[in-house]
Subunit: 338 residues, 4 copies
Amino acid sequence: MSSPLRFALLGTGRIGQVHAASIHRSEDAVLAVASDVFIAGAERTVAQYGGRATSDPLEAIAADDVDAVIIASPTPTHVDLLSAALEAGKPALCEKPIDLDITRVDEIRDRARDAKAPIVLGFNRRFDPHFAELRRRVQAGEIGPLEHLAITSRDPEPPPAEYVAVSGGIFRDMAIHDFDMARSFVPDIVAVTAVGLRQFDSGISGAGDFDAAVTTLLGSRGESIVITNSRHSAYGYDQRLEAFGPGGLLEVPNVTPTLVRASGSTSSSTGEPYRRFFLERYKDAYELELAAFVATIRGESAMQTTSPGFEDGRAALLLADAAEISAREGRTVPVDLT
Amino acid sequence: MSSPLRFALLGTGRIGQVHAASIHRSEDAVLAVASDVFIAGAERTVAQYGGRATSDPLEAIAADDVDAVIIASPTPTHVDLLSAALEAGKPALCEKPIDLDITRVDEIRDRARDAKAPIVLGFNRRFDPHFAELRRRVQAGEIGPLEHLAITSRDPEPPPAEYVAVSGGIFRDMAIHDFDMARSFVPDIVAVTAVGLRQFDSGISGAGDFDAAVTTLLGSRGESIVITNSRHSAYGYDQRLEAFGPGGLLEVPNVTPTLVRASGSTSSSTGEPYRRFFLERYKDAYELELAAFVATIRGESAMQTTSPGFEDGRAALLLADAAEISAREGRTVPVDLT
Amino acid sequence: MSSPLRFALLGTGRIGQVHAASIHRSEDAVLAVASDVFIAGAERTVAQYGGRATSDPLEAIAADDVDAVIIASPTPTHVDLLSAALEAGKPALCEKPIDLDITRVDEIRDRARDAKAPIVLGFNRRFDPHFAELRRRVQAGEIGPLEHLAITSRDPEPPPAEYVAVSGGIFRDMAIHDFDMARSFVPDIVAVTAVGLRQFDSGISGAGDFDAAVTTLLGSRGESIVITNSRHSAYGYDQRLEAFGPGGLLEVPNVTPTLVRASGSTSSSTGEPYRRFFLERYKDAYELELAAFVATIRGESAMQTTSPGFEDGRAALLLADAAEISAREGRTVPVDLT
Amino acid sequence: MSSPLRFALLGTGRIGQVHAASIHRSEDAVLAVASDVFIAGAERTVAQYGGRATSDPLEAIAADDVDAVIIASPTPTHVDLLSAALEAGKPALCEKPIDLDITRVDEIRDRARDAKAPIVLGFNRRFDPHFAELRRRVQAGEIGPLEHLAITSRDPEPPPAEYVAVSGGIFRDMAIHDFDMARSFVPDIVAVTAVGLRQFDSGISGAGDFDAAVTTLLGSRGESIVITNSRHSAYGYDQRLEAFGPGGLLEVPNVTPTLVRASGSTSSSTGEPYRRFFLERYKDAYELELAAFVATIRGESAMQTTSPGFEDGRAALLLADAAEISAREGRTVPVDLT
């Protein structure tokens, strides 16, 4: 049994807490340092999970007792912290997006490609056990060559207006997860056709953004992917997949907290509302994402293929940019992700 | 194409109307005569579906333009009308039960066995397309030799007190359908263990009857059948089957009017309440029962095996009698159905 | 009780047989005349269902003993037979499409609008009990104002090459049903964005047509409708609906022949393949379509609103034409259906 | 935040490993000592999860650095180790059954009742999130007073013949979990009617045991509980609940590893086989069982009520004894659990 990897966790907000809990539950990881510019957050985290606290992420990255880094700080800091990890030669798991601006992403592209230590992007949904099993069966040929993928992705409710204003818009902020999910099935996307929608939230519309969207991606072998997004969903987080090929259909429906079903005088076989949001829906995915990161660092190949890398982070952003243009100009936009 | 069979319908109450409509929709049957001691009912029926009306069932049975008879009159008349059909050499479909008293049934047993024309019992549930397909797959060996059958059978609500008083009790009146269903899978039942329950209806309890029951039948090859009955069910008519064998499980869930499902803020994937009662739930079964009766008369063997006969009607009553004794005496009761 | 309406059935091919059987099973309709240029087909039909045979549809339309007409002959004859029915002042149910060429449709548009007798289009799917119930609940406001509709529509297998050649293409031949379904929810469509696909059938591609397509419609209130089409589907006829609004989701899944489910050593809760094709899937819809046509003729308003008319047939063709242009030119196409 | 409780784990076989992993994943527990007469097993366990190893369980129970004990050793040692825990005044979680012989159980009954530290029985299924949620909703009155409970409980395959020989028989070894589940809904059982079955395993039959059984329990308020057991199940571990009352039905179906569903040319909507056996099916339940034990020890009342105690272990054994008699003698057996 190898000794556990020692992690520096950069950022101890909501998503940082998810990673801290995953590290605790893993037998292969321990928390060495938690860093946050708000030092109190870092201190609360290490009180619960062990390790030491710092307000300086660069110190944490460079520390001798740190084997690997998780970047869970605000988006504008990602490129700089990734740079520091590259510099230190430390493996890094970076939350998405790398940046909202493709030019900033491209500034470190070459160094990321040449890095010895793995750079992994936090597209955690790839590790969802349901989606991962569906993908495994598609790749095993169960339905023949994939022809069509339908991704339904609706958040329970819109983010606050102040967040929307700096979010980069529905395609870069929300659909970017779905673009990566699409690429985990069809890496080579050649065209994007998006319809932006203004259906229910005048604040979002007023800010020039869309509150819903339908995006059709075209793969280089003629595959189609339809992504249906909305910023609200009364019944909980709506996260579904359908994969279609000549041999049939594979589906993942939504997840309920338990399997209890009720029948009464006005209805039959009623399930609970779906899991509320990503913390509940993708809890297992975060743990598996960490396990895959550890496996990648250790060179254990079994899981390595499914860890998305820097280029995946860049491609998702390129697709978001193309979707934005397509929706605004009413035309199909060709893309080149290479 | 053969010309349609000409039917006499004896009794034009609720169940008689079901048969009249089935005859209308069939391409192989026409209504020649409808009889009812309340002549107005017979007249309304022929105004809608054709044929002539009479108040005399014996005249209808004997009529030259009648090829076959459906006995849908009150239970106490069944034995006499069956006798008349046997006398006339006419095929007869008799609603269940033959009689509530096994001695009356046994009075015509020999003549029924020797009859040239088919005598068919109205255990319509055998023809339900869902149950029939499950049975076909069991008999085709899909799950290996049947080990266990679970029958859930709950009425939406208790019958009126005056009906309960003359019904013969929960086993003879209600569970008798389930005993026949059990025998359509395991004809040779050797023991009955019943638990009678008084759960919610003081009127039924006060009359000395049970409002719910759990009955375990044992087949001659060690098969078990559990029948769960209740006189009420908030979510509609509860009619389900599970068949278990070494190769797996086959199930029929309840039927909803349509397949629409709803998800909202308090629930997910909610179906409609199940079909209300037997007229809605078993509409198709009544049409298929008629088709099988026609096929039986014409000697078309494909469907013949599934039409229950006089002996099936008698066996179901014997099981009901045994269940009653078992429930009252708290002991397993052996039975001999031969 | 009104006396049954007397029908002339024009065309006794596959779809004509469906209508003949619906007429037989209805208590409100009788077959007076069946016409077919292949007289043998008409004769077989009347031998089974009654009425007289003719090879002359115009004679059938004009006959005194004919109250209403069903046009089930090949598409190129539709406009002429509709004209004759308009001339005779007889109600007509015309199979879709009115014609493949919008100019021919527009030639009789004014006369159709001014007709006294109802002209009804054979968009039978509107009458599917599952879809109709979903629509009723949307219109009753259960999920609030409709925001998104997803229509999945895949045929089990491609038609023969010779048929494809004259079919008008996937949008006019196949998706036209889905365009009408979309309009039964959102009548006022203002833009069409279609992606045509060539995924599996080189014959169809070689003929310049698409074998699959994804079409996004935009309603005048910002509603989105996504239609996913394919010319093949291994698991049977794939016909599903999802309606989404602020209050939640309503869905209709596919239909299996029975509800039997199986669990074995390699799988759990396995259903039968879905109903094979439209004759099985939409059998009830054809009967209800006829019932609504009868109700429309008799002026019974309850069902009248759901019978699609001439303008609906024209609108569906306009949407198909727009989708074709959108797919070929890679741009959103505005439409005006008024 | 309280400091974690320090555990002694007695027994490091299959079920001991489950508890060791639960302790590791908990933020409220640490492993202080693992004991096993096979010292190598204890040593492997502490190498993975921390703590020290011993071959002497009594030393572990008495150790100063041990706050609580988990008894996961073979059944014949349970009473002695429980006695030692009672002696030491340490809280103990004891795997079921307390013993196969009710007289041995009764020897320590008084001391268990008077114990200051909590004694908890390892009926882990009570903590299954699905079953617990169903029970919570029943107790909240959602379906009114419980009338009927159906428990389906089938193991994937029979245990080895040598195990069956010392298992105590199907009722004491296997159904005992179901008796406790029944009592978690209806504590006061007054009668047992069991039918023992010999359906497929001649080894089990040859040893005088049953390989399947149907048991009907009667509650003091007329409630009925049906337990369906089999020693095999082709489709995985079959663990289901149905609760019925005047207000409707609550159900928990079986659990699949993921929610992926497949449709192909021979089937639709096919799920994966159910979770294989108790380690997979009840993994969460073991973690929650530990959490409830910790909460019980700390006097946090929220979860305390659902931790089964010594009397629950005794009652389940009494029901198993009664079922055995009922099945062998073909009669209903009254029971008094007080």
